[in-house]
């Protein structure tokens, strides 16, 4: 499908997450190679979104380690002891990781163009001219070149999500996280968003995609991971896992969604 190397970009090792006494993630291991599209599926409450949110520290990590591009996320290790990173250092790590949310989370008081320009100008210090040119290119790329001056409320859900993808791409991240990007969309709008994601995958972007779109996993995914109850139940080539699931829980889940 896509050109992947054996060089790991993301390494999640022994990841645990507690909310109080609630043990949501119970030891997750996941490796994503450079250029790979890693699709994560599973029933709601399985912890797949929580795992994704740990990768850019929208959730704190209770136990275990995550590294992206060789850098430990959220911590610095000094003499075998972990130290929390300062919020500025965390912000710097997040710049390399783009995130797309289920509810889009576009800034409603800014136009599509302003949404995309915001971070390059404010965070990277790009000039407005450069940022505007790039933002318009990105809008063209997601098929919304004629919607630059529209506010999010004037766009459909599918259009908003494509602007959100363009907004994340404007920071030139090395990794893109998709948290159920099509779950809040009307069925007829899902295709446009998936097409943008497919193009992105073809261009060699490393992606972790939490989704319910089994078709997308089969067609675009390089690896499919099935999570349930806070653990990875099964992981492998998407076509193999989907055609011939090994674990009974995977079989049961797939029988209900396929």
């Amino acid at each position: 499908m896509t050109i992947t190397t054996e060089k790991p970009l993301v390494q999640i090792e022994g990841l645990h997450k507690y909310y109080g006494n609630h043990h949501v993630l119970r030891g997750i291991d996941l490796t994503v190679n450079q250029g790979e599209v890693s699709v994560v599926i599973g029933p709601s409450g399985s912890g797949k979104s929580t795992m994704l949110r740990c990768v850019n520290l929208l959730e704190t990590i209770s136990a275990g380690r995550i590294s992206v591009g060789g850098d430990l996320i959220g911590y610095r290790e000094v003499k075998g002891r972990l130290h929390d990173l300062k919020s500025k250092e965390i912000a710097a790590q997040r710049r390399e990781i783009g995130m797309v949310f289920q509810r889009f989370n576009l800034f409603p008081h800014k136009t599509a163009l302003q949404n995309i320009m915001e971070a390059p100008v404010q965070v990277k210090g790009q000039s407005k001219t450069v940022a505007r040119k790039r933002a318009l290119e990105l809008l063209d790329r997601v098929g919304l070149g004629d919607r630059a001056g529209h506010y999010p409320s004037q766009l459909s859900g599918g259009q908003q999500q494509r602007v959100a993808i363009a907004r994340a791409l404007a920071m030139d991240p090395e990794l893109m996280l998709f948290d159920e990007p099509t779950s809040a969309l009307d069925p007829e709008l899902v295709g446009d968003v998936l097409n943008v994601m497919k193009d992105l995958a073809k261009s060699g972007m490393t992606m972790i995609v939490v989704t319910h779109e089994i078709g997308f996993a089969r067609e675009v995914g390089d690896r499919l991971t099935f999570m349930d109850g806070g653990v990875v139940v099964e992981s492998g080539d998407p076509r193999e896992v989907l055609a011939n699931p090994q674990h009974p829980r995977t079989k049961e889940f797939l029988s209900r969604v396929l």
């Binding site: 990781i97 509810r103 409603p108 965070v123 919607r147 766009l155 994340a168 920071m171």
Partner: protein, 323 residues
């Protein structure tokens, strides 16, 4: 309408008999009757002394009083807004010292009457004759007389502004909390720092919730300035008209003069508030007229996008895709 529908005969519009509203007519007659009676009394009752109202409405003392009332209102509101933003941010901070300080400030200034606070600021020079800076129990770096720094004007502005900051802090806090948490997450995920997120993402959206009650508070402040005689500050509108009334033994016409000016200022403030609300409602509130009237939406969409948008961009209203 597309050509498919043009080929068909135009539908016959329903011609239904509307519901009658006799109550509206009855209430209109009663209210108009009362109004006419009131206006008649205004004209015919000589005790209003409209001639005196006319004499004093543009009196130098009165106009100066209006100016001072405006100065006090704006200066104390500006001070209060700056403090309130700071207090609201502190209240949301990770730093427990900030959270606690903010809470205590609001507790104190909201928990004591503004009149008492104004009296205190008036007496501050009695309490602390000298202001000095230095290390506690250590050497002193400079010192000056309190009465030269805290004049009546300064005392009035401090008294009104600090008290108001406590109320505004709560309004701002509610506003910040009203913004969807996804906005904070989206901005964080883009690598924005906390200060930038607050000023550029959260606060502009919170302003939609903050502006209406703040406008209310500003109008309240306009009238609270009449309490500054506690300091004592003696140049504001209420004090000026009272002084004139006491001189000529005619309180009613001068109360009317004062009420007239307060009404004028309030009306102007309301117009200003309308424009501020329209500014911060951008992208959210403009959705409603767009849905009802596509032509107006098209016109406003062509005007609304700010300097960020290319002037030559197509601004078509998104017809079928719009939610």
């Amino acid at each position: 309408m597309d050509s498919h529908q043009d080929s068909q005969a135009a539908p016959v519009l329903n011609d239904a008999v509307p519901v009658r509203h006799p109550g509206r007519w009855v209430s209109a007659i009663i209210i108009i009757g009362v109004l006419v009676g009131f206006v008649q009394s205004l004209v015919t009752n000589p005790r209003f002394r409209w001639d005196v109202v006319g004499t004093y409405i543009l009196d130098t003392k009165v106009v100066q009083g209006v100016a001072w009332t405006l100065v006090l209102t704006f200066a104390s509101m500006v001070l209060a807004i700056i403090l309130a933003i700071l207090l609201a941010f502190m209240r949301q901070s990770d730093n427990p010292v900030f959270r606690w300080s903010s809470w205590t400030w609001v507790w104190f200034f909201r928990g004591t009457p503004v009149y008492t606070q104004l009296l205190f600021w008036g007496l501050i020079a009695v309490l602390y004759p000298k202001i000095s800076a230095g290390v506690p129990f250590g050497p002193e770096m400079f010192s000056m007389d309190t009465s030269t720094v805290v004049t009546a004007t300064v005392a009035a502005i401090l008294g009104l502004g600090l008290n108001e900051s406590a109320y505004l802090a709560e309004i701002f806090r509610a506003g910040l909390k009203s913004v969807d948490s996804g906005q904070m997450e989206a901005a964080e995920a883009l690598g924005m720092g906390k200060t930038k997120i607050m000023w550029r993402i959260i606060l502009p959206q919170a302003m939609r919730v903050i502006v209406p009650p703040t406008g209310n508070e500003t109008i309240g402040m306009l009238k609270t300035t009449s309490l500054v005689l506690a300091v004592p500050f003696t140049l504001d509108l209420t004090f000026a008209t009272n002084a004139l009334a006491n001189r000529i033994y005619l309180p009613i016409p001068l109360l009317i003069v004062a009420a007239f000016w307060y009404l004028v200022i309030t009306s102007i403030l309301m117009v200003g508030q309308h424009f501020i609300e329209a500014h911060y409602g951008k992208g959210v509130d403009n959705r409603v007229p767009a849905a009802i009237n596509p032509a107006a939406a098209k016109a406003s969409a062509a005007v609304a996008p700010s300097a960020e948008a290319e002037p030559d961009l197509k601004m078509d209203f998104p017809e079928e895709e719009a939610k």
